[in-house]
């Protein structure tokens, strides 16, 4: 016989509005084995917690049921509450009467009836719970940060400063990310390079950071505290240990490739560094434009390299890293706007995308910082079109958040660098950040013209060949506008990286409907993911500006420290075990486990589970025909009992 206590939370009116809490309590009191049932306004508050703890002592409770919000919200909180009284934390059952009851109905009769059924199910289940002992594992103190943009850099530096070993894995040949492409940053207009490059250099110099550029994670195994990560070092064809960064090779190289860093607006050498301030300052050979790789001869770089660092035989190599925690900060792509044929991007030379314009402003950019059209002339009038592909049900429903502000920044820079008329075509102006509204007002005063209406189409002007016409509806005057301009800047939607799905699977993340990585809880665990020990920071989680990105990076670093600052940590005890007396040796468990936790013991003719490898999915228990596998905390008996309890009412 169990001694069960049932505690029902009002959650203010969140629950009480559509569930009669007192009735649930009265109901619970009639159930077998329930010795006490109580209600409280906020069960998660200190007095609420004390109420539970006192009742555990007073009534010698050996099972506790808390009917409140989702277990994903406060299961851990209440586990701690009961553990503090000496009761095993796994003897807690949460009944979800908020997210899955009170919030999804407006009928108090229905909500109360459902609450009763759920409580009854919990009582059935609670009786069969067993105390479980958490597994304690050693924690590897090292950290892997994936993505060398500003988020990854900031997180890596912060963690390295605490003395932890950090591996910073970056896909491209340099760290810096998108921020390195920018000229100025809103709203303060400080120079992007001025604030970023010192941090890039700090990464290079930091003794605790192992910077791994031109690398990609190819496999992640293990679990929190003990991840096993395989990183592919892509062949650079330059031995970076030997290279002294003299860049003589780059000067002599005849190969011409496209500069990704300049968004294709400029060429680059086949052997090159992406941009002058790149870190590391050591080059990489681009196979696609290297004369030797294309035609089989050249090897000029090899000849000029005094360090004998060029190595055309170099192969991809794989490095194994062990780490206790991971930060994923893989950033974003801008939407390819070519499919939006109405805007003519890629066809009309006067149509630019936002990142291209960033490069035009940049003194290290293809034009040396001068704003000129592709023919070299200076534009006389410029239209900036917001929300291209975003806030658009046909493309991306979400707001990309930063476009309003960088469009204002563009307008300012255009005004500063040219004498052009600048037009903003916008749906709404969103300037909700510190100093952002002030920046908006400042740009208005700079004689930038704001037209409230989304740019609908860009066509080539018939009257003035070479010029463009922006078609739009001004929603204030409700007039259709045909505005002739020289240059159009598109602000495309910020979208997940093209390979985000692969990254998601590798790190076992969830994604939201737009494809951005999903946080464990939008408010209370914005940097955690569903996978313990893996955190997310920056735009890979959703569009945001640099201050927010940096804040997230710092937050993620702090989250990581909560894990790696300890030698040992507790893991969920909800693993599966085999009852050898009933195992028939069919080995179904061995076949279905994705982690290789079960194995077959030929001597005993039974299967065994290595708990260290088990992640508690319970798949084996369902595949086991004899019910020999006990998926702890989700045993067959417990689930069946809960089903029985739920179906009784």
């Amino acid at each position: 016989m169990s001694r069960i206590g049932v505690f029902v939370c009002h959650c203010g009116l969140n629950i009480a509005k559509t569930v009669r809490v007192s009735e649930l309590v009265e109901f619970a009191r009639t159930l077998p084995d329930v010795v006490v049932a109580e209600e409280y306004k906020f069960m998660c508050s200190t007095p609420g917690q004390e109420l539970i703890q006192n009742d555990i002592k007073k009534y010698k409770l050996d099972r506790v049921i808390v009917a409140a919000c989702s277990p994903l919200m406060h299961e851990k909180t209440f586990r701690k509450v009961i553990a503090a009284t000496g009761l095993n934390q796994y003897l807690l059952t949460i009944v979800n009467v908020r997210e899955q009851t009170s919030w999804v109905t407006s009928d108090i009769e229905v909500g109360t009836a459902k609450g009763k059924a759920l409580i009854n199910g919990a009582v059935y289940r609670a009786r069969l719970l067993s105390p479980l002992v958490s597994r304690v594992i050693d924690v590897n103190p090292d950290i892997v940060v994936v993505g060398g943009g500003i988020a990854g850099i900031q997180a890596a530096l912060e963690l390295a400063d605490t003395g932890k070993q950090v591996y910073l894995v970056e896909k491209s040949p340099t760290i810096g990310g998108h921020m390195a492409q920018f000229d100025k940053t809103f709203p303060t207009l400080d120079c992007s390079a001025c604030i970023l490059t010192p941090k890039m250099d700090a990464v290079l110099q930091h003794k605790n950071i192992k910077m791994m550029t031109y690398c990609e994670v190819t496999e992640v195994k293990g679990y929190v505290g003990n991840f096993d990560i395989i990183v592919k070092q892509k062949a650079r064809y330059v031995d970076h240990d030997k290279c002294n960064a003299c860049l003589a090779c780059t000067e002599k190289c005849p190969g011409k490739g496209v500069s990704e860093w300049d968004e294709g607006l400029a060429k680059k050498k086949a052997i090159s560094i992406p941009f002058p301030q790149a870190v590391p300052q050591k080059p990489v050979i681009d196979r696609d434009s290297c004369t030797f790789f294309l035609k089989g001869k050249c090897r000029l770089c090899e000849k000029v390299c005094e360090q004998k660092a060029i190595d055309f035989e170099q192969q991809d190599t794989f490095v194994n890293i062990k780490a206790g925690a991971i930060i994923v900060a893989t950033g974003y792509d801008l939407m390819d706007t070519k499919p939006l044929v109405q805007y003519g991007y890629g066809k009309l030379p006067g149509v630019y995308s936002a990142l291209e314009v960033e490069r035009l402003f940049n003194s290290a950019g293809p034009t040396g910082g001068k704003v000129t059209l592709r023919d070299g002339s200076e534009p006389k009038s410029i239209a900036i079109l917001h929300c291209i592909g975003s806030r658009d049900k046909n493309n991306h429903e979400h707001c990309s958040r930063v476009c309003c502000m960088y469009s204002l920044k563009f307008a300012h820079l255009f005004k500063e660098k040219t004498s052009a008329d600048v037009y903003q075509f916008y749906i709404d102006m969103r300037a909700a950040g510190k100093g952002y509204e002030e920046f908006y007002n400042r740009i208005i005063e700079e004689d930038v013209k704001f037209i409230r209406g989304k740019g609908a189409r860009i066509t080539e002007s018939k009257e003035e060949p070479g010029r463009l016409v922006v078609e739009a509806e001004d929603t204030i005057t409700t007039k259709f506008i045909n505005l002739p301009v020289d240059m159009v800047v598109l602000s495309p939607a910020i979208v997940p990286r093209a390979d985000a799905k692969d990254v998601q699977r590798m790190f076992n993340l969830s994604s939201d409907k737009h494809g951005f990585f999903m946080e464990r809880h939008p408010k209370l665990a914005p940097l955690s993911t569903m996978t313990e020990g893996v955190f997310i920071a920056g735009v890979c989680q959703g569009p945001k500006d640099i201050p927010d990105t940096v804040a997230q990076a710092l937050g993620a670093a702090a989250e990581v420290l909560t894990i790696v600052s300890k030698d040992k940590m507790e893991l969920e005890a909800t693993t599966a075990i085999v009852n050898p007396a009933v195992c028939c040796g069919c080995q179904n468990c061995v076949r279905v486990c994705p982690y290789g936790a079960p194995s077959f013991n030929e001597q005993k003719n039974v299967c065994e589970i290595n708990e260290a490898l088990c992640k508690g999915c319970g798949q084996c228990a369902a595949a086991c025909p004899t019910s020999a596998i006990i998926a702890r905390h989700f045993t067959n008996e417990q689930v069946l009992a809960e089903i029985e309890g739920l179906m009784e009412y």
Binding site: V582, R591, N605, P625, N636
Partner: protein, 287 residues
């Protein structure tokens, strides 16, 4: 038609050879029970035992059933008809036995008879194959009757039934069940010990022979045999109250074959469909 006398002779000859040479510890074959019309599975362990081996049209029992009873590593020779050989294939796939420990004495058969009813056993109640799918020695000529027959034709009338009528049919059948468990014990694939139904943690179904417990027992057993049942029909022949279990097994086998593009126990290198998946499996199978 199978020449039963000739096969019996060959079976005895092979068994004797194997036992005399000591290449196997046991030969699984048949002997007479109360009389020759009631043959009994037989484990010949000495050359002298071979004289007791018989083979006739009533030797239906699936001898694969007995293989798992011997300690791992025991060398066993088994007389396998078509269905027996498919059962052996599944046992090998499930790693209950190793192929190298088996010598399969293949028996091509047609014209086997049900000892209770005297009816010819064919694709209506079994998989309907005539030749073993795997063997080391074939004890008779392969039988090719011409056009292949579908073991699933018999299902048509039940598939056509209205759901309520089909439920009424099965309810009446399962209500007859006395829970003697002859079906699972006769089944070569039911080697679990204990069976889920004997479990007390949890008690999946009541032990008393009532409708609901019987339904749970049989449906779960069908699920457990999905993709594994090789349609030998032994469960049905073992049943003392004549529940046509083979119909349900056939239906599940047919569905599995359609969904997973593989019939059970045909090739040793096949994967076990229920503990496997294809990324390209369609959600249509859930409709």
């Amino acid at each position: 038609m199978t020449n039963f006398k000739q096969i019996e002779e060959n079976l005895k000859k092979e068994a004797k050879k194997l036992l005399e040479a000591g290449s196997v510890a046991v030969v699984l074959a048949y002997t007479k029970g109360a009389d020759e019309k009631h043959p009994q599975p037989f484990a010949a362990k000495k050359a002298d035992d071979v004289a007791n081996i018989i083979f006739n049209e009533y030797c239906n029992h699936n001898l694969a059933r007995y293989i798992v009873r011997y300690a791992p590593g025991t060398k066993i020779a088994v007389a396998v008809k078509a269905a027996d050989s498919r059962a052996v294939v599944v046992l090998i796939q499930e790693e209950k036995i190793k192929r190298e420990n088996l010598i399969l004495l293949g028996i091509p058969v047609s014209g086997m008879k049900n000892q209770k009813t005297g009816e010819i056993i064919d694709e209506k109640t079994t998989g309907g194959l005539t030749n073993p799918v795997v063997y080391d020695v074939l004890l008779g000529e392969e039988i090719h009757t011409g056009k292949p027959v579908s073991p699933y034709t018999v299902l048509e009338q039940y598939e056509k039934m209205d759901k309520d009528a089909r439920f009424a049919f099965w309810k009446a059948q399962f209500d007859k069940c006395i829970r003697c468990y002859a079906c699972r014990k006769a089944c070569p694939m039911c080697y679990c010990d204990p069976c889920f139904i004997d479990q007390t943690k949890p008690r999946w179904a009541d032990k008393s022979p009532q409708s609901h417990g019987n339904l749970m027992y049989h449906l779960t057993r069908f699920q457990h045999l999905a993709g594994r049942c090789i349609d030998c029909g032994e469960c049905t022949r073992a049943c003392p109250v004549d529940i046509p279990l083979y119909l349900f097994h056939k239906k599940v086998a047919k569905d599995c074959e359609e969904m997973f593009k593989q019939a059970a126990g045909m090739k040793i290198e096949d994967k076990l469909v229920m503990v496997d998946f294809r990324v390209e499996d369609s959600d249509k199978i859930l409709e």
